[in-house]
């Protein structure tokens, strides 16, 4: 089968995601920190885009940074990241049970950090 992402010209965004329009999980945000799992190798069927993403994430990066470096929209990267987290090739490194609510303690640490710059 032809891997559509081997074609170097512009492709419609859902081609990169294998037809998925939305991430499989809703917890991936632009600031979510990601790092590749060094022990998991990608199957031969993995697309060039998925390989590039895992390769890029050998160090820790946020979703938005990874998207910017790969020159793909954040929404497309989010779908790919969700798949790669599901398959164990990428790990989410941000801790915190409820990222919806930066709590008082975290806000005070941010404030302290900014004042120390």
């Amino acid at each position: 089968m032809v891997d559509p992402t081997d074609y170097l010209g512009p492709v419609r965004p859902y081609v990169l995601t294998g037809g998925q329009a939305r991430p499989s999980r809703n917890t991936v945000r632009p600031e979510t920190l990601l790092v590749a799992n060094a022990d998991a190798s990608l199957p031969p069927s993995a697309t060039r885009q998925h390989r590039s993403l895992v390769q890029l994430c050998r160090g820790m990066l946020s979703l938005a940074e990874a998207a910017a470096h790969l020159k793909i929209p954040v929404s497309v990267a989010a779908v790919m990241v969700s798949d790669l987290v599901d398959s164990g090739h990428l790990a989410v490194r941000t801790v915190g049970a409820d990222p919806d609510t930066p709590n008082q303690e975290l806000l005070e640490r941010v404030l302290h950090g900014l004042r120390s710059l």
């Binding site: 945000r29 920190l33 160090g59 940074e65 910017a68 929404s75 490194r93 806000l107 900014l114």
Partner: protein
């Protein structure tokens, strides 16, 4: 202009520093909002430890009235850009600064961009205050805590901040400050104003927003 200190820092911002420090355990974000040309990217560039990054999303929507597509017989397809930077706080928190166009309809094109944000720093240019009106229309509909910073350009008239608050018809307790977006410490101070406000709001309600 750019100070000597920031030139030194800029020289350090190369490819080797692309990655987030492995000691970081939490990421937080602040939206830097305001109309086109108000200085969002300048402020982000002043503070960021990485060279600011750029991403684009396509939004397809009818008649946004943003781009002139005279002679192009199709629905409007607008590219919305997001410029952002990063700063590590202490050794375990990384703060992202996302420069967002003022209009809320643009924010919605990045899933989760505003969700979980500490707040928004809204930059205004008092030489063309009317361009900020739509930003505040949207901020007032949102739960996101916000502070306002007048970006002072060389020819910005000296208008007292309380007059700016009145002109914008903002609540009198809206945190207001002025800054020079090209200056790192001045920009950091504006961010501190916002985070102090978000922290106070959080303390008041017992929870964030």
């Amino acid at each position: 202009m750019v100070s000597v200190a920031s030139d030194h820092r800029r020289a350090d911002r190369d490819e080797a520093d692309r990655y987030v420090s492995p000691t970081v355990r939490q990421s937080v974000k602040i939206l830097v909002s305001g109309p086109f040309g108000v200085g969002k990217t300048s402020l982000i560039d002043s503070v960021s430890e990485i060279v600011p990054l750029h991403t684009e999303e396509q939004m397809t929507q009818q008649s946004l009235g943003v781009d002139s597509l005279t002679g192009v017989e199709r629905k409007t397809s607008t590219t919305v850009a997001l410029d952002f930077g990063r700063i590590t706080l202490g050794d375990d928190i990384v703060l992202y600064l996302y420069g967002t166009p003022g209009q809320r309809r643009f924010w919605d094109h990045w899933a989760g961009l505003a969700e979980g944000a500490i707040g928004a720093l809204v930059l205004v240019d008092t030489r063309r205050l009317e361009e900020s009106f739509e930003v505040f229309d949207q901020m007032e509909l949102s739960d996101t805590p916000f502070a306002v910073a007048v970006n002072v350009f060389p020819d910005t008239p000296d208008i007292p901040l309380d007059q700016v608050v009145a002109a914008l018809d903002l609540p009198t307790d809206t945190p207001m400050t002025s800054c020079r977006a090209l200056d790192r410490q001045s920009s950091i101070q504006a961010l501190i104003t916002l985070v102090e406000h978000a922290t106070a709001s959080s303390r008041l309600t017992g929870a964030h927003r």
